[in-house]
Symmetry: C2
Subunit: 205 residues, 2 copies
DNA sequence: TTGTTTATACCAACTAGTTTGTTTGTTTTT
DNA sequence: AAAAACAAACAAACTAGTTGGTATAAACAA
């Protein structure tokens, strides 16, 4: 055997993610990444054949974490399956809690970063982002349809678009957070989503 | 005098905005802009001394339009000053109507585009974006405080963050719209904001 | 009306530096 | 011994920006 390359690879991923969230993908040169990681060009291209291979690895890692959060929240609310509204509210609350711990604004979302220069990426990456967004939609839709078995809506709304609202609020909060320096902004915005759910649903008579 | 340069300048602004919304600012080279406008490098640098001068002109034009929409909505709801909740709801409805007319997803928001590679821009531009976002916050806050004179809230919420929600939903919708091809997505998301306002406020007894 | 002037608007070619990626070989680590 | 990383040079394409000159059209003079 030989020495372990994983720390180097992980470092490239971490530093380039941070750089891309501040400078964009096109605005992040490989030389910048080398400077930040302290490695050489040879090492970089040993781990990633091209810059777009790095782009793909980054978005896949990001999506893994993202979906991981979603699945963890599903698990941690599974005990409330009998009370679908409580489950939905706790599901949102878990993300409020997660975003409340921050001492500075969130670093940003790589989906939004890529989408803001979407032509720089191939169809495979664009479809990958689309599919993770649709996974969020489908997951929330399931939670919402469970609620509708026992609850009516005070105002009749389109369920898929209501399912999208959590993604919209996350993405929007991240954008606004990049402008205003308020670490609790995302948590507060998610609280509005929770409020909306609370107000919208009323037990069937 | 000599020939009129305004059409050329306007064309540069229009084409570069479109390019930047798809490729990002760093991802949009001046050569790309020349290709799209059909002008030469000399003409470009005659109108904009540097690329960052273009960046500033673009964001100023975009903000002018953005604030124009806001002020128009304020004017068109001014007749409801005596009924603050109706005014607020109509204010949102005007933007729902605006976004309902679309036959394809909105082209995107230049604030979000710039913020996603925020380090590429100087403090002046970043402050400029911040101030337009804060103008939206302050404007909505005024509308909301008027409502609170006659209405209580079913759930007690932080007013500045409630004011931010319209910006958050706009920005988030634009992000998600870049992934999913649904022209009515933004209108539907704004409808949730309107619903939330409707559900949240209850006349003082 | 006609020719000349003049500032603006624009063009074509060039420059200096940066970009991604390659190559060749050496050194370190396990 | 083999993987992982370094070092340094190189190439081809692309980058923002410059230069010197030309076309255009209004203003002015004859």
């Amino acid at each position: 055997m030989a020495r372990d390359g994983k720390p180097t690879r992980d470092n490239i991923l971490a530093q380039s993610r941070a750089l891309i969230l501040e400078n964009g993908f096109s605005g992040t040169s490989i030389d910048h990444i080398l400077e930040r990681t302290g490695i050489t060009k040879g090492a970089f291209f040993y781990h990633f054949k091209t810059k777009s291979v790095l782009a793909k690895a980054l978005i896949e890692e990001f999506a893994r974490e993202d979906i991981g959060h979603m699945e963890r929240a599903l698990k941690e609310t599974a005990h409330l399956k009998g009370d679908a509204l409580s489950r939905l509210l706790l599901f949102v609350q878990l993300f409020i809690d997660m975003m409340s711990d921050l001492t500075e604004p969130p670093p940003g979302c790589l989906y939004a970063s890529y989408l803001s220069e979407t032509n720089q990426f191939d169809q495979e990456i664009r479809d990958f982002i689309l599919n993770t967004i649709l996974l969020w939609r489908n997951t929330l839709e399931l939670l919402l349809r469970d609620v509708l078995k026992e609850y009516d809506m005070r105002i009749d709304v389109d369920i898929p678009s209501l399912a999208d609202l959590i993604t919209v609020i996350f993405e929007g909060s991240y954008v606004v957070s990049k402008a205003v320096n308020e670490p609790d902004l995302t948590a507060k915005q998610l609280q509005h989503l929770k409020n909306y759910f609370q107000l919208l649903f009323i037990p069937k008579k």
